[in-house]
Structures are given as structure tokens and as C-alpha cells.
Symmetry: C2
Subunit: 203 residues, 2 copies
Amino acid sequence: MPEAAEEARPGRANRVAKLPPRERILDAAEELFHAEGIRGVGVQAVADRAGTTKAALYRHFGTKDALVAQWLLIVAADYVAAFDRVEERWPDEPLAQIRGVAAFVVDTLSTISHRGCPFINSLAELPDRDHPARQVIEAHKARQLRRLTAMCAAAGLTDPEGAAAEITFALEGAQVSAQNGSVDRIGERLVTFVDAVLVRHTA
Amino acid sequence: MPEAAEEARPGRANRVAKLPPRERILDAAEELFHAEGIRGVGVQAVADRAGTTKAALYRHFGTKDALVAQWLLIVAADYVAAFDRVEERWPDEPLAQIRGVAAFVVDTLSTISHRGCPFINSLAELPDRDHPARQVIEAHKARQLRRLTAMCAAAGLTDPEGAAAEITFALEGAQVSAQNGSVDRIGERLVTFVDAVLVRHTA
DNA sequence: CTTGCATGATACCGATCGGTATCATTCGGA
DNA sequence: TCCGAATGATACCGATCGGTATCATGCAAG
């Protein structure tokens, strides 16, 4: 039974084992960049984790910075998918959509256990405003705020921009607080909090 | 006029010129770590900026990690001083104290122009939970939350812990939003927001 | 005046960094 | 079947990293 060797490493590994190198590298990058930080992980470590070599990594991405940008593009796509999901699940119910977005962030709070939001962390690690990953981050933040504002407007809230800004505060503050672990019961507090914002902005 | 040479470099530099090396190093570290990130600044660069040498740096701090911890201790002391100030300025007026703390954070929002909160950034750059600077960060966050909770309790708010947690969300979320620049008029929004929290938790 | 300590300058250490070059192997499509 | 592209392995490059050792200077207290 030769294929039994696939279960040698548990979890993610065997699922990834036979993917093309580009996918394996992105998978390894996601894991390592998030766990150790961008500047704390060398390209050799990423290649090793992906079961390939530095040469293959540079053939596909050309630069470590480009790899970082590609990784953040994937993370951003997860958020886009989450917004799509809540819009599909509660059509014509913008208030439910907003609560759905908050619930999505609450879910990520446990997933990203104590290592925080990849975008916030990357922003701290990439002070260079010309870094290719910065464009990805800014585009993501702008898109998220735009969709949130649209939901607030559709819900008939007074001052949709203000409501969306406050909700953004709360979402990002919750992720930071979860990272440093000083505040407990963050998920519940965040939901309560977003509800309060919605109520206050309702005529 | 020999002392006229002191005004050769504008701003901070001449004030620092004749301080003992330890102070100059901490001053340079504060500037560089915040601007470029901890991992983005080498000890040689800190020593150069301080007008001294690596040898002197290691004589005083022993380790780069220890220097980072000392730097964060100073930043934390600034926050402690801010809390002391609002308590001294509005004794027996806890609501005014809380608003004063929020105003202090609003002030820092422009000071730390687009480079974010040193604690949040350092947390992203130091994934190692045993890093000496982590203890400084955790102690700071815990102390800040404790004092904020005490103010909320003194103000007679229902659920002081909840109110303090929500205010913490807002303060940290505002700093992150200021860093990525996606949200405008952050200062006003933060003040509005904290007021709303106080109102909602008032019986 | 002299002694002693902190400082500044410099060279050096091994390790690791991002990135490149070379070459044998493998594998899928014509 | 054969060919060409993609892959894996490995060695190498210059630069920089955190950290150490050495030594001459300068300054301040005895």
C-alpha cells in the first residue's frame, strides 16, 4: 500500500503534497508569514516548508516581496468571499449582512489565534510605502470600507459613512485586542458593540 | 560664538547632542524602531543615529532585544503619564477623565503619522512569546485596561468591564485605521464613538 | 597630577539574508 | 516515442545581521 505514506504527516500536509509547486509555496508562505512574521521568515524556510527549492520559488515569483503581495491577495480574496456569502445568504437584508460580516470576523479571531490580522501585521512590517504588498493592503481596506458603507446605506442608516467607519474601528480593534489577549470574551463584546452602532444610527 | 553650532541640525538633534550615550541610544531607538520597524533596523544604524558605537550600545543594554524592551518601557511610561494627567486635571470627574484619555490618543494619531501604535506594531514583529519586550507590552495593556475599567466604575457605568473593553476596541481600532489611512476624520469619529459608549452604559 | 573608568573607533566573528547560476531528472503532450 | 519545459538539488554570491574583542582617547574624581 504505497499511498498509505500520504498519512504520514497529519492535517494540511497530505492535502498539499501533490499540488503544483506554486500552490505549495503559497500555502507554506501563508502559514509561515502569519506565524513568524514576514521579516522573520526566509525564502529558504518557505521553500523547505513547501517541499521545494528556492530556485522554484524565484521562478514563480521573482522576488520575496512579490510573494508577500501574492499571499496577501489570497487573504484578501477570503474576505471578498465572506462579503459575497453574507450578501447571498441575506439578500435585501443589509442589517443581517452587516451582522454576518461581524460574525465572520469573530470566527477569524479564533483561527488567527494570538497572531493577529495578516493585514495589520504586514502593515507594521512593511514601512516602505512603495512595497508591492502595500497596494494590496490599501485596496483591500478600501474595498471593505466601501462594501460596508454600501450595506449601511442600504439599511437606511443615518450617516452610512460614519457607521461604517465605527464598525471598522470595532472590527480592527477586536483583532488587535484578541492578539494581545488583554480583553476576554471578545467575540460577544464585538457583536454587542456592532449592534449598538446599528441601533444608534437608526432613525 | 561656538555654541551657535548647536543649531546646526534642527529639531530634536541639538537637544540630544550632549546627553549621555545611554539616553542618546534610547532616543535613536525610539525614532528608528518606530519609523522602520524593529526588525528593519540594525544595531549599527541605532548606534550611528545616536552618534555612538555598537560597543557602547552593547555595554549599556547587552542585547538588541533588551534595548527593544527598554524602548517600549519608555513608550509605556508616556501612557502612564497621560493617565496621571487626566486624573489630576479632572479629579472626581471620571467621565471627563475617560474623554481626556480618548483625546490623548487622538493627539497621538497625528504624532505617529501613518506608522501606527508602537505596541501593536511590536506585537506583529515579535511573535516569540518569550521575548522580553512582550512582558512590557502585556503589562502595559493590562494596566491601561485596569485604569480604564476603574474610571468606568467610578463613573457609575453599568458593566464597567464591558465599557472599558469597548473603549479599548475603539482606541486600538482608531490607531490601526489611522495607520492604513482608509478612514478619514478619525479623531472626531473616535470621540463621537467613545461618547456613545459612555451614554449607552449610563443607567 | 595621576589614576581609573567610560567612551569612541575599528576590526572581526559566524550565521543568515535575498537572489542567481548550473545541471540532472522527470514528466506530459505532440 | 521523443522532445521540451518544468522541476529539484546544490553551490555560490555579496551584503548585512547580532554580537565580541581590542585599544587608544578623554574626562572626572581622588
